[in-house]
């Protein structure tokens, strides 16, 4: 486990393109506080952001924590996975799934969720608090 973490840290994260235009970076947590292949919830003032460390794909994602279906603060507790190649999260309440990269709802017509940029610097995970979408 230790080794895999170090290996991951030594590689650049695949999906973290440079997003310099983002000015409001929230220091969310340390990399080791995030849950591998799962999500945690980050408090941002009155807001809640779900942060996913998709270790298997070596990717990071952040979305709103509220599931738009029944307005539950729950997405960070959902299971992540993929549909063909699209990374997704399933809400634990009624298994509605959302794309982690675009926020689009993949099951039915619930509205999309907000997604946020993520960057890692010196072992700290930062979330850009201006939504991508």
């Amino acid at each position: 486990m230790e080794n895999s973490l170090i290996n991951n840290l030594s590689k650049p994260y695949k999906n973290l393109k440079i997003m310099n235009e983002q000015s409001n970076w929230l220091a969310a947590c340390r990399v080791e506080d995030a849950i591998e292949n799962g999500g945690v919830c980050v408090k941002h003032g009155e807001d809640q952001i779900a942060l996913f460390y998709f270790t298997r794909r070596n990717e990071w994602y952040a979305t709103q924590n509220e599931c738009p279906h029944k307005k539950q603060m729950a997405l960070s507790r959902g299971m992540i996975g993929s549909a063909t190649d699209e990374p997704k999260v399933a809400c634990p309440f009624h298994k509605k799934t959302f794309s982690l990269s675009t926020g689009e709802c993949l099951s039915g017509d619930e509205c999309a969720i907000k997604t946020y940029p993520v960057k890692i610097e010196n072992g700290t995970v930062y979330i850009g608090t201006t939504p991508k979408s």
Binding site: M1, V42, L51, Q72, A74, M79, I80, F93
Partner: protein, 837 residues
């Protein structure tokens, strides 16, 4: 022009089939049918099912309107009494006469009653019609002992009926030195006899009955060896006698031992008169089975419609289940050395006897006999009938593992020619079935039955019809494999075995070894459940925690609003006042709503994620453990108070319920499962609505399985009776492991059983008779699961890394989710309604 008029005498199975076949070919001809019995044609082959709850209407071959819809005039209760062949007229019991152009005898057969003094006595019956069965059934109420004369097919059926009617002692008397002398050999008869004896039947072979004793009603039978057997009633089932008396009276030629003589066209010596079914004598033989009767009906119907069919004899192979015992014979079953080579397999322990006769050059299967296990029958019959060349090791044909659907040889269904007759009752070939499936008209077994009629007669060919259907669908790429999701190309059962074989212990290891891409919310909980069922390790071990369903991940059920419920185990529903006080105090301290559940325990609702570890710490300190209300595994074992308090209780149901609950707690399964133990038949614990339920009897416990409450309630079925405690537990062990290994994901035991081929009988065979040979392995596996049980909540609160997960904010671990809202109701809190936009 006036249509030619056909009169059919007799409304039995063959008479009906003739009408059906005729009408499927033409709507011309006026058809009039005269029946002697008061009801429409019914299924005489399955007559004994009348005693298992089937009604006369269930057994009926047609619906009430069928004759009218087909423009056929049917007279019931109105036998033909006389025939005037010169005038071409029949006279009937109601005094009227009708003209015919064509006359068809389908009068069938009656029971052959041997010339024994005393057959007229009260309490002596034959076994032929529904009326006979009604008479037997009402007389049986006052009888304790019964005898059946005749150890053939019908005699054994009759004996079964008497057992079903609750006769304490039933004996079978056979004149020949063996049972079913037309079908099986001496060794086969020995095996059948020992199995029947185990079932409580007395078998007397080589017995010649000389008189029926009794004053007015029967009391005993006397034999030529001067022995006497007490009997309160007697059923004579010593063979059949063709109903040819009417034909004989009007000068139609009959055989010396009965039967209306017919040629290949079913024509008698009068060109306007025909005979079909068991009243017809073709080539010196009466064909006393349903399939050749149907074939005769087909031949006649086709020829009346300008066809050119001929009846040239018929394969008399049979397969049947007698009192749960398979008996089959096919081809040349009695041929012996030196005319053939015989291969015999015998297993006295399991009551299996198989014999096949192979041609001297080893090339062809000539015939054979199967007792106790006839799963290979269809294939053997086809191999023999189609002269399929055998492999070098023909013994494999009968050495295939019991329970397997095909013998381990090259002669599968694929090697059969298209002309192979699969359903001999309806004359349906392999080609008929495969093309019906291939042209898209049917995709399931019911549609195949409807569209080809295959399997609608005796039903014996159904397994093979099903195999052919699956095979055809598969070859068309239509067969939809029951795979889990896009990440795993396996069924749950396959994955279970693969994980076991490869000894995989984490979700990622399983995905790497057996799956592809990144997994999803379908395969993750499924694999997690399999891992738990196989290894029973802590489910929140790093890596596996995120593959758990939400409730398993936090060892609690997420509720509306995002709070969780806390449910400690209360085995059997028994709880001390001190523990009740602890629950009350904990609920008060953490402001939890409390409710008694249907499973006899107490739910506490409204806990914040952050509070779960501390709440459980307090509960564990007071002696509670996880109730697994969140997991797909054992929920509760309800119990009534039983013999410790109840004045009706037979045994201590509470102690047994606690033992069961503690035995199976924490074991993960394809879905949740529930149980209950009742201390007597009043069934206060409602055990028959559970996945497995136990009810005390005078002698032990009755075990019921596969019940369900919920949206589709289903009563559990009785698996075994009067078990001692240890046997009862052993059967539950096997039952649960069989379920865990084979059920589809999220399938409760009731649905699992509903989908199971062979149903409760099959299940019973697997659990009690160990027909799959898995019992020992399953018992060992479940012992391992039981031995590795640990309270998950105890482990969770004692492990800092796991405990850390129980906080809402990663960057503010002390803060609770501020969005959770409660409102007040009846002095407690409840969650706020779903927020609307």
């Amino acid at each position: 022009m006036k249509e030619p008029q056909i009169i059919v005498i007799g409304n039995g199975m063959v008479g009906y089939k003739f009408c059906e076949k005729l009408r499927s070919k033409t709507s011309s001809f006026n058809v009039i049918v005269f029946g002697e019995e008061p009801r429409r044609a019914y299924d005489r082959v399955h007559l004994s099912e009348y005693f298992n709850g089937k009604t006369a209407e269930d057994l009926s071959l047609s619906t009430e309107n069928w004759y009218q819809e087909q423009n056929i005039t049917l007279f019931l209760n109105n036998p033909v009494t006389e025939i005037d062949r010169e005038q071409q007229k029949v006279y009937t019991a109601n005094g009227l006469d009708y003209s015919y152009d064509i006359l068809v005898f389908a009068t069938g057969s009656g029971a052959f009653v041997p010339n024994i003094p005393g057959t007229e006595k009260e309490g002596v019956f034959v076994y032929r019609t529904i009326e006979d069965l009604d008479l037997i059934s009402s007389y049986a109420k006052k009888a304790r002992t019964a005898s059946v004369i005749g150890g053939g097919l019908l005699g054994l059926e009759a004996a079964k009926a008497l057992i079903d009617l609750g006769i304490e002692k039933t004996s079978i008397i056979e004149f020949a030195p063996r049972l079913m002398p037309r079908q099986i050999d001496a060794a086969g008869s020995d095996m059948l006899k020992s199995k029947l004896t185990d079932l409580g039947l007395q078998i007397h072979l080589n017995k010649n009955t000389t008189s029926i004793e009794g004053d007015g009603c029967i009391t005993a039978l006397k034999f030529s060896d001067d022995t006497v057997l007490d009997a309160d009633m007697l059923v004579i089932s010593a063979g059949i006698k063709p109903r040819d008396e009417l034909a004989k009276a009007c000068g139609i030629e009959v055989g010396p031992r009965g039967g209306i003589v017919v040629d290949q066209k079913m024509q008698t010596n009068d060109p306007a008169v025909f005979a079909i079914g068991e009243c017809a004598l073709y080539d010196g033989m009466i064909y006393g089975l349903i399939a050749p009767g149907y074939e005769m009906a087909e031949v006649l119907a086709a020829n009346l419609c300008e066809g050119d069919k001929a009846f040239t004899g018929f394969d008399m192979s049979t397969k049947l289940k007698l009192i749960g015992i398979d008996v089959a014979s096919f081809g040349d079953n009695f041929i012996t050395e030196p005319d053939c080579r015989t291969i015999i397999f015998e297993n006295k322990h399991k009551g299996v006897y198989k014999r096949i006769n192979v041609s001297n050059d080893g090339q062809y299967l000539l015939g054979g006999i199967l007792i106790g296990d006839a799963t290979a029958y269809n294939l053997l019959l086809q191999t023999s009938n189609n002269r399929i060349v055998l492999s070098e090791n023909p013994e494999e044909l009968i050495l295939a593992a019991s329970g397997g659907s095909e013998p381990a040889s090259g002669t599968g269904i694929t090697s059969l020619p298209d002309s192979a007759l699969i359903c001999s009752c309806e004359g349906v070939s392999k080609g008929d079935i495969c093309s019906a499936v291939a042209n898209g008209s049917c995709e399931n077994i019911d549609e195949v039955k409807k569209c080809t009629k295959a399997g609608t007669g005796c039903g014996g060919c159904l397994p093979m019809v099903k195999d052919l259907m699956t095979y055809t669908l598969k070859s068309q790429g239509k067969y939809i494999k029951n795979v889990i999701c896009e990440h795993f190309n396996y069924s749950r059962q396959e994955l279970y075995d693969l994980i076991h074989i490869h000894e995989l212990k984490s979700y990622d290891a399983v995905l790497d070894a057996l799956g592809k891409n990144d997994g999803c919310e379908v395969c993750k909980p499924l694999v997690s459940s399999l891992l738990a069922s196989l290894w029973n390790e802590m489910i929140l071990k790093k890596g596996n925690d995120v593959a758990q369903d939400s409730n398993d991940r936090f060892l609690a059920n997420i509720q509306k609003g995002g709070s969780y419920s806390v449910v400690p185990r209360v085995p059997g529903g028994e709880i001390t006042p001190d523990k009740l006080i602890v629950i009350g105090e904990v609920a008060k301290k953490y402001n939890l709503y409390t409710k008694i559940t249907g499973g006899q325990r107490i739910d506490m609702f409204g806990a914040h994620l952050n509070d779960l570890p501390i709440i459980w710490e307090e509960l564990i300190a007071a002696g509670f453990e996880s109730g697994h209300a969140y997991g797909k595994g054992l929920r509760t074992v309800k119990s009534c108070v039983g013999s410790t308090w109840c004045r009706f209780g037979l045994h201590d149901s509470v102690s047994f319920a606690i033992r069961i609950e503690e035995r199976y707690r924490g074991i993960r399964a394809p879905h949740k499962f529930k149980s209950a133990v009742s201390g007597c038949i009043r069934e206060c614990a409602e055990a028959q609505s559970k996945d497995f339920g136990i009810i005390a009897t005078e002698k032990g416990w009755n075990l019921y399985v596969c019940g369900n409450g919920g949206s589709k309630p289903q009563h559990a079925l009785l698996l075994a009776t009067d078990l001692d405690t240890e046997t009862c537990i052993k059967y539950i062990d096997r039952f649960l492991m069989f379920y865990i290994r084979t059920a589809d994901p999220l399938t409760r035991t009731a649905t699992w059983l509903n989908k199971m081929e062979g149903g409760i009988d099959y299940l019973r065979n697997v659990i009690i008779n160990d027909s799959l040979g898995m019992a020992t392995q399953w018992e060992n596996e479940i012992e391992k699961l039981i031995a590795s049980y640990k309270c998950e909540w105890k482990e969770a609160v004692e492990n800092p890394a796991i405990r850390k997960r129980f906080s809402h904010f990663v960057n503010a671990p002390e803060d609770k989710d501020p969005t959770i809202e409660f409102v007040e109701m009846r002095g407690q809190k409840r969650t706020a309604e779903w927020k609307t936009v």
